[in-house]
Symmetry: C2
Subunit: 416 residues, 2 copies
DNA sequence: AGGTATTAATTTGAGTGTCAAAATAAAAAA
DNA sequence: TTTTTTATTTTGACACTCAAATTAATACCT
């Protein structure tokens, strides 16, 4: 009577149909959760014979298993009942870690994509050295493996999400608020430390991966995920795969220029989208808008909360801050639509609470800025997910690289 | 003593390595121009045996041929001399047509990518009906086939480039300055009229295709081509293939917003990049900047020429027009870099003559607007090509769809 | 000139992956 | 129980690709 939801993109990348059938079958099974062989054959347009052959191999390898599934009610009930296949969850376990400047989160996910356990610790005021960062990761892994009951030696891969600029392919952190140094080869060092394959990426890309593997993006081929927190990030999924630009760095929506000679950004330039809508941008205006006493509020979060309250109460200055931010957000979204033409945009992340930013009139303004010749207005969805989301994205990152090595022996899909 | 330069992308799309070997071999040969079998085997990492088998098939089909080539000088000269293979030029002929509001151009290109003949006619002041447009195409084809000596019945495919918004996959023109109606199924109607496969696309995409097939883009995997004429267009090549967004429409750089509540654009919106740097944008400011007498100049082209002269003479108002346009161009370019991260940007097209727009300080300003964490500054190249370029792009479009059908019997790579 | 070294291309036989068709298995319906 | 229906496996064949052996064509050497 078991039933699984599956994970991973629902539709195989288009032109990649010609890649090893073993892998296609495995990914189909993982995507479906539970699926009988006939369905796999039908879905991939291959013969049942091949499915039998290849799945038996995968079962022998311990990657798939037969599961007694309840008969679908829609079925006529006649004939030999199908026997469902599923990914063998205990085949592998991976850890997903999300590091941030507030708190660090970690999850253990099994090979079928189920979250076994999660754990979070507050940000440690450390020295911003690589060693301390890796110590933090180690602590987290110890905590979460303990909680999950999965021995640390049973982990097969680790995925880590870091804020800042990350070069996914090489595993190098170009710059991060968590590290004092630039150009840190984080993934290689972590690999050494934990004696496990380690993949790292930008946190915005992780949210995109989370949507692609576990969320609403599973059935979409092209979509954008935009996160607004301390900075503004974007992950873009194209043809069911994360797009990382030609040079391996992600898309930097936060530093798209929306105003010539505009507001000053953390990056030192002027007119970046981030300089209008990120936390720190709102906070620095808040100090001006609110009266002296309010300016004493400690911490950005509390300050913004207060600003939000004021705006709701009708404080004009406070409202205008959100208004302007909303308008620039609309410009940013419209530019993404005009350049990428995604089928959907997700505004996603843990702190989607400043409803002024995600109000209907912001979306309406975006519509007026989008070239109106396209068929339909691009749909925008607001996903207010918890912090766990990011860690799951990191787990998805680890899972995808793990399956790659599992199924075709180390042949990576990345650039040669 | 023959030698050919070849055409088509130099490097095969990455993940597509798993596609029919026949096609890979063919494309390799076409890319190289002339190449011996050994080299093909080495380049594709397959056995010489397979190359022999498959090329002999292709030769039997009349798609490839053996060519007596001069021995490479670098060669030691020992051993059996290689016999070069090349695409059989007379296997097929395609027509490429570029329609614009100034003049229409057409080329005949053989299967190996050689331009056999080209022809141009001035824009006919017609009714903007589909019929008239197809009449124009027919006239062009008659002219250019006559000139080339290739019988019209020998044409295998036609590619047409149209300004405006074009949905490449379906062959539908959403809107074009050349057509009174919106949503015209141009490609299907042309297919019927000429009884040939017809592919159409946006003119900016054609320039990108031209760079990819015949130009400097052949050895790049990811690059942007930006054209500035009546409007601003962009074509983006990703992984050696033209990117068309999720919905099949191209990327609309011209309508990216660079200024909230900014200058009025042809499209009815405000702040579009086009509204600052396209011909009409410069022209409407020129009327203000130049003295009364100059404002009488007939025609946008002449007016801009005059403006350009004035700026060179030191006219401050004229200079400021180009200056501002240049700065906004820098913003547009920087945004493309920040979002797509291409390895190169081509400023390409037939009218790259306003050197103020393509001056070094514009590019310098772009560099200051690009996120400075990335390795190198993105290279920008200015390509001042003639009008023929567009038609060659259209021919490339026809060629690519033709080879697709030739080599795997109608199985298109496009979305299923 | 004739033999040898060298490189290119082809032939051959084997291995692999995939499939169609036939056979088998497991259930409900008659 | 037998028949019908659907799922899975088995079997034999076909197509693709390759490694190794063979043949072809040239330059170098004596």
């Amino acid at each position: 009577m078991e039933s699984r939801s599956g994970c991973g993109p629902l539709i195989a990348p288009l032109n990649d149909t010609m890649r090893p059938l073993r892998q296609q079958i495995f990914e189909r099974v993982r995507a479906a959760g539970l699926i009988p062989r006939v369905e796999v054959a039908k879905a991939l347009g291959i013969s049942p014979a091949s499915v039998t052959t290849l799945t038996s191999e995968l079962i022998d390898q311990g990657l798939l298993e037969e599961v007694a599934a309840p008969r679908a009610t829609s079925d006529s009930g006649r004939g030999r009942p199908p026997v469902a296949l599923g990914v063998r969850p205990e085949a592998h376990y991976v850890a997903g870690i999300k590091l941030s400047d507030r708190e660090h989160t970690a999850v253990i996910v099994d090979f079928a994509g189920n979250v076994i356990a999660s754990e979070a610790i507050a940000m440690v005021a450390n020295s911003k050295s690589v060693e301390d960062l890796l110590d933090t990761c180690e602590t987290l892994i110890d905590l979460v493996t303990e909680k999950s009951g999965v021995a640390r030696t049973r982990l097969s891969s680790i995925g880590i999400g870091v804020p800042g600029f990350v070069e996914g392919r090489s595993g190098r952190v170009i710059w991060s608020p968590l590290l004092a140094n630039k150009m840190v080869d984080l993934a290689p060092q972590a690999r050494e430390r934990f004696d496990l394959p380690v993949t790292i990426d930008n946190d915005a890309n992780l949210v995109a991966l989370a949507e692609l593997w576990f969320g609403a993006g599973r059935e979409l081929s092209d979509f954008a995920v935009i996160t607004i927190e301390h900075g503004v990030g974007m992950g873009y999924v194209m043809n069911h795969r994360l797009f990382r630009g030609a040079e391996g760095l992600g898309t930097e929506l936060g530093h798209v220029k929306v105003q010539l000679d505009g507001a000053l950004c953390r990056c030192g330039q002027r007119g970046c989208l981030e300089a209008y809508i990120a936390d720190y941008a709102l906070a620095r205006e808040a100090a001006t808008a609110l009266d002296q006493s309010a300016a004493d509020i400690q911490g950005t979060a509390a300050l913004l909360e207060h600003l939000h309250e004021e705006a709701k109460k009708g404080n004009k200055a406070a409202k205008s801050i959100f208004n302007r931010a909303g308008r620039y957000l609309a410009v940013g979204l419209a530019n993404v639509v005009n350049l990428f033409d995604p089928s959907k945009i997700f505004l996603s992340g843990g702190r989607m609470r400043y409803d002024f930013l995600y109000a209907n009139d912001v979306l309406a303004e975006m519509d007026t800025l989008v070239l109106n010749t396209r068929h339909d207005v691009t749909a925008v969805e607001v996903h207010s997910w918890g912090d766990l989301l990011w860690a799951r994205g990191a787990a998805a990152l680890a899972l995808s690289s793990l399956t790659e090595t599992c199924l075709n022996g180390g042949v990576e899909t990345g650039t040669a």
